[in-house]
Symmetry: C2
Subunit: 492 residues, 2 copies
Amino acid sequence: MLIASEKRIKVGTRPRERWRKEFGEWYNDVLIKAEIYDHRYPAKGMGVWRGYGKKIANRVYGILKKMLNENGYEEVQFPALIPEKIFRIESEHVRGFEAEVFWVTRGGLTELEEKYVLRPTSETPMYYMFRIWINSYRDLPVKIYQIVNVWRYETKWTRPLFREREISVFFEAHGAFASKEENENEVKLATKIYATFFRKLGIPFIITERPEWDKFPGAEKTYAFDTLMPNGRALQIGTVHNLGQRFAKAFGIKFQDKDLKIKYVWQNCFGVSGRVVTSIIAIHGDDHGLALLPSIAPIQIVIVPIPYKGFEQAVIQKCREVYERLKNAGFSVVLDESDETPGEKFYKWELRGVPLRIEIGPTDIKEKEITITRRDTFERIRVNEEKIVDAIRELMNKVEEEMKKAAWDWFNSKLEIANSKEEVGKLLEEGYIVLTSWCGDEKCVEDITELPGVKILGALVDENLEYIKPKHGKCIFCERKAKYLVAIAKSY
Amino acid sequence: MLIASEKRIKVGTRPRERWRKEFGEWYNDVLIKAEIYDHRYPAKGMGVWRGYGKKIANRVYGILKKMLNENGYEEVQFPALIPEKIFRIESEHVRGFEAEVFWVTRGGLTELEEKYVLRPTSETPMYYMFRIWINSYRDLPVKIYQIVNVWRYETKWTRPLFREREISVFFEAHGAFASKEENENEVKLATKIYATFFRKLGIPFIITERPEWDKFPGAEKTYAFDTLMPNGRALQIGTVHNLGQRFAKAFGIKFQDKDLKIKYVWQNCFGVSGRVVTSIIAIHGDDHGLALLPSIAPIQIVIVPIPYKGFEQAVIQKCREVYERLKNAGFSVVLDESDETPGEKFYKWELRGVPLRIEIGPTDIKEKEITITRRDTFERIRVNEEKIVDAIRELMNKVEEEMKKAAWDWFNSKLEIANSKEEVGKLLEEGYIVLTSWCGDEKCVEDITELPGVKILGALVDENLEYIKPKHGKCIFCERKAKYLVAIAKSY
């Protein structure tokens, strides 16, 4: 415990006024100023991943790629253009997406004979090819994923990475299996993969089974992960769909099984989008900007020289020495030798969420101690210069764990159980995700969904997709037997 | 020299009949059977990267990413949709692309007020944002790249990864600089990066300055890398464009320099596509399929058990033992325990280009020796089982170097100097890239470009972009002074 033995100076709680009260503006500001994603691109609902943002995104989605690879998934890449006839094969799916797809109708100066849909998601092109690839049980399972752009013609509000016309990161996985049971097990595996993934990122969540009227078009069951934004609105961050055999039958994806019988495959799919990055920004940030987990941060440590007249050379020399030591120890570290003032540098690197800042001035050199400031809590920690590498390693782990815990604590404080309809309304107004006992009948919750922005997220499930039973035995709306603990929230 | 001391059994030269004579069919077959890229997708000029192909592509483009990162480039990601008004800003560029872009004209059931172009390349959206990002010399240089899909409405023939309507991998880099000189140096750096990249992949090339009439629309100069396909046709595999200030002026990309003056930036861009993978397949392959460099191969070694009745267990056990040793030594290795025959396994893994195959049967166990077969030459090498790890490491390096050398030797044998117009025609017919002395006048080569499929690649340059001077002092066409060594070839 190298750190505990050192002086710790508590600087106070996190500044989170604007973060909470003007979340929308705060978020848009941070995206541009921290050079994450630039929504000044001159088209509604489209933006540009900048260098720093793309590095964060690559690290985040890299974690999920690794997990999928380890679980037998292979990366593939399908075309973005779907010929109209392929898009129209599964009718429920078409009905779900028809109003929100973009159409490519012209090539050069010519009207196209066959028009293309810009993929809103990739079930139809993928499953068309599954029919070609799958003939025997030996060809199963098929487990693939791709990280691509998809498009949806949003006619109402758009918000960068939340809801866009061009969804610049869509990470979709698709599986085909020989049996119902195998498919159901994979749906559970997918759920566990996402739960682990979000935990690694410190994104707290609940899992629900989406109600009938809110399922993915063509799915038998849809399970969704929701987190909470600072303004008290729930955000869907990932979904897992059990597709049963509906697409298999529409697309004719059949195989000869070991028993020589011809059967349809069973399918599932699951996806996340740029909202994963949204959540990281929103959940860990504050009025100073981003705060990144050390495991995600493209830059983990910034060193800021604090020069005093007459000591400039000594300070820079010491900074470079510490920089080399930390770099050689494997940390991602930047020494900011630009001509800005220390204050300007603090502002810049806090905005970009660098987890640890080291300041070195003449006093530090004299005392052979170094001041480290945590981005998440603004605590200042003095450590002996000799012990810097070990101290930072320990501190890094501590920051990682404490940031995750803080996020979950905040989220859990925003989950509340309601015992009456009135309480539901009151808690929703106050920005809670409300849990309550429900019979499962749509009619019981009709009134509530008419409240502005309120959504029935669905019946709460655990990571094994088992329903979490309500303690209260009766539906609070109709007094019939309660089957589910339903989650209700103001939602994006 | 562990290997040289072992028995080497020469099995003969590479089978390359079909590879040369029916290159087109051979190539299409290999793409599908080796599960690289599936062009059975039901739309002209579009295909699907399969798992094995995507792994190869990720490794190949990963090399270039690393090189660009090390040279100060940052990955970004722009939208694929370009609003019409942005696309139309630079007139020469528009003229060059207008006939071959796809248009998005409809959203849901509504005609769009502003139509979008599906990017054919990203100069226009990028440079629109450059105007926002660049204000001061402090904002320069900007050096970015992205790996994206682009679309071109090809009305004639398409061929997978050669010429497509959806170019599924387009790796484009773009830079903006404060001075003409800095920009020119960057053009040279880009050329050197590509030269190194292609050399690492064993793709031989020449570099030429494309003639005036064949420049990129909007560029001042275009330099191109060409390689050669087995059928004697040249293939453009990479281009570097000096854009001068044309786009800067059209898009208004200005900055305040150190001298306080407002100036336009200087720009360049450079790109490669899926043709890099095409070249790897075509240049290193043979009638058995792919042959991959050990540095690129997703699987470097396959172990095939050769079971004999009564020895099944001993053979499998030895195979597993060798597998563990090689895996622990850091090789990417597969032990094929499937129920196929050894012959079927040989076929399958040769098709996929696995560089080394190990066979283990009862005799090998008895003799404590192991047989390794090279995919590129089919040489069979026996090594002492004890020395297997070191022997394979040495062999891997040898294969890597010899494959590259063989590719360059073949390519160089296909470069020929012509001393008369008649010779040019004759050599082109025989499938050579022809080099000859040229004054630079378009009129001199007009006749030649009328030959079917023949293209003036341009004036040969070295990696510093200096013209390679012809030995023969006079233009072979007009007898005026020769300025260039021009490269001419049948070309895709």
